[in-house]
Each structure stands twice: as C-alpha cells, then as structure tokens.
C-alpha cells in the first residue's frame, strides 16, 4: 500500500470523498409534516393557481444603480476572473507538488468548494461559473496562441447537453464510488483528463461548448436559473422571482439526461449510506464498485424513466403529442434537485468548507501557513442537529413548492386551457413522489 501517509489518505474514505461525519437522520415527524405540506401545496396549486402563463422574460425589479454599475463594470469582472485563476493556480500547485496525505487541500477544493460551493453560489448569484471557469481562459489563451477564432466551430452539429450529462455522471462516479478518490494520483488523472476533454470540445465546437456542454458550467447555469439575480437581455440587472429563470432554460437534447443525473446522483448519495445497502454491497461476492455504479446509474435512470412516464400520461390526458414533452418538463425538476442538494450537502459545505480554507494555507504540506488560516479549527455552529433538520426540511419542501408552481406554469404554456389542470396531475404526482423519497432518504440514513 505504500507509505503511511498514503495509507492514511486511503483510510479516510467516507461516502463523499472527504469529511468524517454524516448528518443525524431526520425525525419521523419532520418527514410526515414535510410530506403533508408538499401534498397540501400540490393540491392547492392545482385548484388555485393561474390559468394563463404568467412568467415573462423581461420581468424583475431593477437593482439600485450603484450596485448595477458595479456588477456591469469590467473591473469587477476582471477581479473575479483573477481571483478564480489565483485559486486555480494555488490548487494546481497543491495538486502537482503537494504531499499525498490527509492534509492536502485538493480533494477538499474539488469535492466541497467546486461541487457544493459552486451549486450554492449559483443558487444565490446566478450562473457564476461562466465568469469563473478557468478552462474558458485556457481555451482563449490557446486559441490566441494558435491564431484561431475562439468562436469558430468545426461542425454545424451540436451535441446539446449530452457532454454535460456524461461529465456530471463521471464526476459523481468519481465523488461517490471511485476507489482512492482522495489520493493525488487519481485526482491528477481526473483533473488532467477533464481539462483536456473540455479544451478539445471548445476547440472543436467553439466557445458555445462551455455554455451547453461543460459539465460545471451547465451545473452552475441550471442551478443559477433559480437565482433571483439576473441580467436582462437589455443589459439591466434585476431581481426577480426564481421561477422566471428556470422557466426560460433552453431545452435541447440531453437536458433530460442532465437533470436526471443531477437529481439521481444526489439521491444515490443519500441512499448509499443506508446500512442495508452497504451491507449488501460489502458482503456480496461481486466487486463493490460494480454494484455501486449500478446503483448510481439505476437512480439516474429511475428519474429519467419516471419523468418519461409522467410525460406520457400527461400527453394522453391532455391529448397532445408526447414527443419532447419529458424534456419540456425537465426544468421543473430543477428546484427539487436544488432542494435535495441543499439538504444533503449543507453540513458538508458549512463544515468541510471551513476545513478546505484551513488546508489551503499549506498547499505543499511543509507546515507553512501562507493564508494565516492554518491554525484554526472548523466551527461547529452550523452543524447543530436542530438547525440541520430545519434546513433540510425547509430546503426540500421549498424545492417542491417551486417545482410545483413551475410545472404549473409550463403546463398552462404547453397545454390548452381546458386540459391544463388534468395534464399536470401526473407531473405533480411524480414530484410528490420525489419529495417524499427525498425526505425518506434523509430519515433513513
């Protein structure tokens, strides 16, 4: 197995890749009440919500001009880009020259700050990765050096969201299942391969690749569609109800797969810590990675297939063609996926997120303290069990409510008025199922 340090890293292998604790299970009453609220809201929504589409692309309250001017200024954007490149460089130093032990910051940056932190930032501020993505800068640099037009595409065909769906699946496989996923060797291979493929994709398909096909930009963009902050097409910064953005998500091939991976992977994350599941996996004669990969894939497929089924029933009830309906409904799952992410990863982000900052102070593992955070210990205040349970229930139920309202809006847009109510029932039933499933996962972990 190698040195003691290597063994120590291999040793600390809980579900997410980093972190040593998981949340306490939700109390059963919380599950009941959450499910009851979800059901109640769904029925009320059916009866009481508006009969005409109401979400307009140009809606929103403009921000005060000093704030708007700051957000629009190239200096502000330049500062953010520079900070992102600095953090990338710092992490690369730790990746290439750091020590392969439990204090290396790279697994924390990748599995906590990038994966969960990016989702959280995007939910609040919008699709921030479009500004922060270092591979975009790399592509621009390479294109300039090679005297290529960065927007030029080698083909008129587009892969839609499929590369993002596959990329997100690969990342969640890495995060949840890959053996030795916190070792530098695996991280080097993973990061190197990802950057290479991402860069190649951008060179082949042009800069538009990043908007639709870069897994992390799509992750940020889809969650960012739920943010109240938005820059309108006329350049004005506004605050608007989160549903406008999710309603305006561009539907393209692979969107259904992407949302299925987003929801399914978080669900599998919760499911994989169930004692009965891991008992089955570890005592089976089949290799555990095979079983776990099947579980992850299975969860994503369950989401995709159930959405297809709901769309098929909806189409039959509303008497419209079923083709493409599931993809049209897919954005309604985004609030539910966001609720799942907040519920499952709140404690990981608030606790291990601090540990990331502490470890970043010593990227080379030489006992330095370059950021001044090296001597601190992470604060437990946000891990208080009651607070965590409240956050989890509120996140899941809010996600459900937003999903229901969004599904209603899409139904009145897609269906004729007389069938809009009945047409959305299968989708509502599906969402109630997801929400109850999500609550049960938190209860039984």
């Amino acid at each position: 197995m190698g040195t003691l340090g290597f063994a120590a890293v291999v040793a600390s292998l809980p579900a997410h890749g980093v972190g040593s604790r998981q949340d306490l299970p939700l109390p059963f009453t919380a599950v009941l009440i959450g499910a009851a609220v979800a059901l109640l809201v769904s029925f009320v929504a059916l009866g009481a919500l508006w009969p005409e589409p109401r979400l307009r692309a140009d809606a929103g309250r403009p921000l005060p001009s000093p704030v708007a001017r700051t957000l629009s200024s190239p200096v502000f954007r330049g500062v953010l880009v520079t900070l992102s490149l600095l953090l990338t460089a710092w992490t690369l130093v730790a990746l290439i020259f750091g020590k392969d032990d439990a204090n290396n910051p790279v697994p924390y940056v990748v599995y906590v700050w990038l994966w969960v932190g990016l989702a959280a930032l995007s939910l609040v501020f919008g699709p921030v990765w479009a500004w922060l993505n270092p591979v975009r800068r790399l592509h621009l640099g390479v294109a300039r050096l090679a005297r290529l037009d960065p927007d030029a595409s080698m083909t008129t065909r587009s892969p839609g969201y499929w590369p993002a769906a596959l990329g997100l699946f690969a990342f969640t496989w890495l995060e949840l299942i890959a053996p030795d996923r916190t070792t530098l060797f695996v991280l080097r291979v993973a990061i190197g391969t990802f950057v290479l493929i991402d860069l190649l994709g951008a060179l082949v398909f042009g800069r538009g690749w990043f908007t639709r096909c870069d897994p992390f930009e799509v992750w940020s963009r889809l969650y960012g569609s739920l943010s109240p902050l938005y820059r309108r097409s006329d350049g004005k910064w506004v605050l608007r109800t989160p549903l406008h953005g999710a309603n305006a998500v561009a539907v393209d091939k692979g969107l259904l797969a992407t949302t299925s991976v987003m929801l399914g992977s978080t669900a599998y994350d919760g499911f994989s810590s169930e004692p009965r599941w891991y008992t089955f996996v570890q005592s089976s004669d089949l290799p555990s990675e095979l079983l776990m990969t099947t579980g992850l894939l299975g969860m994503c497929l369950v989401v995709a297939l159930s959405l297809h089924l709901a769309a098929a029933v909806s189409a039959r009830l509303a008497d419209i063609p079923v083709r493409g309906l599931a993809a049209q409904f897919a954005p309604s799952l985004l609030p539910i996926a966001a609720g799942y992410v907040v519920a499952h990863y709140w404690s990981l982000l608030t606790f291990e997120g601090q540990n990331t900052l502490i470890r970043l102070s010593d990227p080379l593992g030489i006992g330095a303290n370059w950021l001044g955070t090296g001597g601190l210990t992470a604060n437990h205040a946000l891990l208080q069990p009651t607070l965590v349970a409240v956050v989890q229930v509120v996140a899941i139920v809010t996600g459900h409510v937003l999903g229901v309202v969004l599904a209603h809006e899409r139904a009145v847009t897609l269906f004729q008025r007389r069938v809009a109510v009945i047409g959305q029932v299968p989708l509502l039933a599906l969402m109630v199922g997801y929400t109850c499933g999500g609550l049960l996962l938190l209860f039984s972990s």
């Binding site: 949340d23 919380a30 009440i33 009651t386 409240v390 139920v397 809010t398």
Partner: protein
C-alpha cells in the same frame, strides 16, 4: 405588479408553511404516547431518533457496549446505528478472523490494529454531533455507525 403578487402569494405561503412545518417538527416528540414532552431548548432530535422505532434501518442496539465479529467479509451483527449522547461513552469490542485495522471516523480519527482472533476493545466518547462510521480496512468493511446527538 399584479403579476408579481400572483406569483408571490403561493410562494410566500408555501415558504411560510415549510418553515412552520420544520419548526413544529423539531419542537414535537414522537407519536407514541409514553414519551415525555421535551422543553424547547433541548435538542429534541436526539430523543426523537431514539424513540421513533418505526423503521428497520436505524435499528436496535442502544447499549453502551458494541460487540462486533468479522469473518471474511461478513459482519455480525449486521451494520446498524448505535445511538449515544454527547459526553456518553461507548465500548467497542471487535473480533476479526484476520489481521486488520479498525478506523473510527470522528472520535479523533481513531485507528487501531486488530489481530486475528484477539478481541480489540476501544472506548470512545461522543463529542461532536453527527453520524460516524466504524470500519475495517483490509478489506474495506463498514462495521456500524454511531449517531451522537
């Protein structure tokens, strides 16, 4: 403005409902009548988890001693969750049929070697709240979880 109100009403209502639901669920005790009402400041979650015995997954052993036997890849008793309170001690006795290494997440990242046939006894005290795993490394086996509340 009418459009925004139409949207805001169901949203605000639902947000308010979900926050109320969450707070209500935390102040309550479990359904069975025998349990005493906990005062608001007390971490009700811990009492909840201990008394809601409805599901099979987070099951029985609430003793302060945990005996685990490992044969090959088989763990006896089947992995479950042991509940202890902050400040409470738990004595774990692990007997394995092969040389291995016991690792406890949390609990100061406890790591102890296990010799084949010789029971290893360790005592841990609940400090941080959460669910922590006890596992062996060769092969990777999860033995059980400890829920500290």
């Amino acid at each position: 403005m009418t459009k925004m109100t139409w949207l805001k009403r169901p949203l605000t209502l639902a947000l308010g409902l979900s926050v109320a639901a969450a707070l209500a669920s935390c102040g309550q005790t479990a359904a069975p009548a025998a349990t005493p009402v906990t005062p608001p400041g007390h971490p009700a979650i811990g009492t909840h988890a201990a008394t809601s015995s409805a599901t099979p997954s987070s099951s029985k052993p609430t003793g302060r001693r945990m005996d685990v036997t490992v044969q090959g890849k088989k763990v006896t008793p089947a992995p479950a969750t042991v509940k202890i309170a902050v400040g409470e001690s738990l004595t774990v006795v692990v007997t394995s049929d092969h040389d291995d290494q016991l690792h406890a997440h949390g609990f100061n990242n406890l790591e102890k070697d296990v010799k084949a046939g010789k029971p290893l006894e360790v005592t841990v005290t609940g400090a941080q709240t959460g669910v922590f795993e006890f596992e062996l490394h060769h092969p990777e086996l999860r033995l059980f979880q400890v829920a500290v509340s």
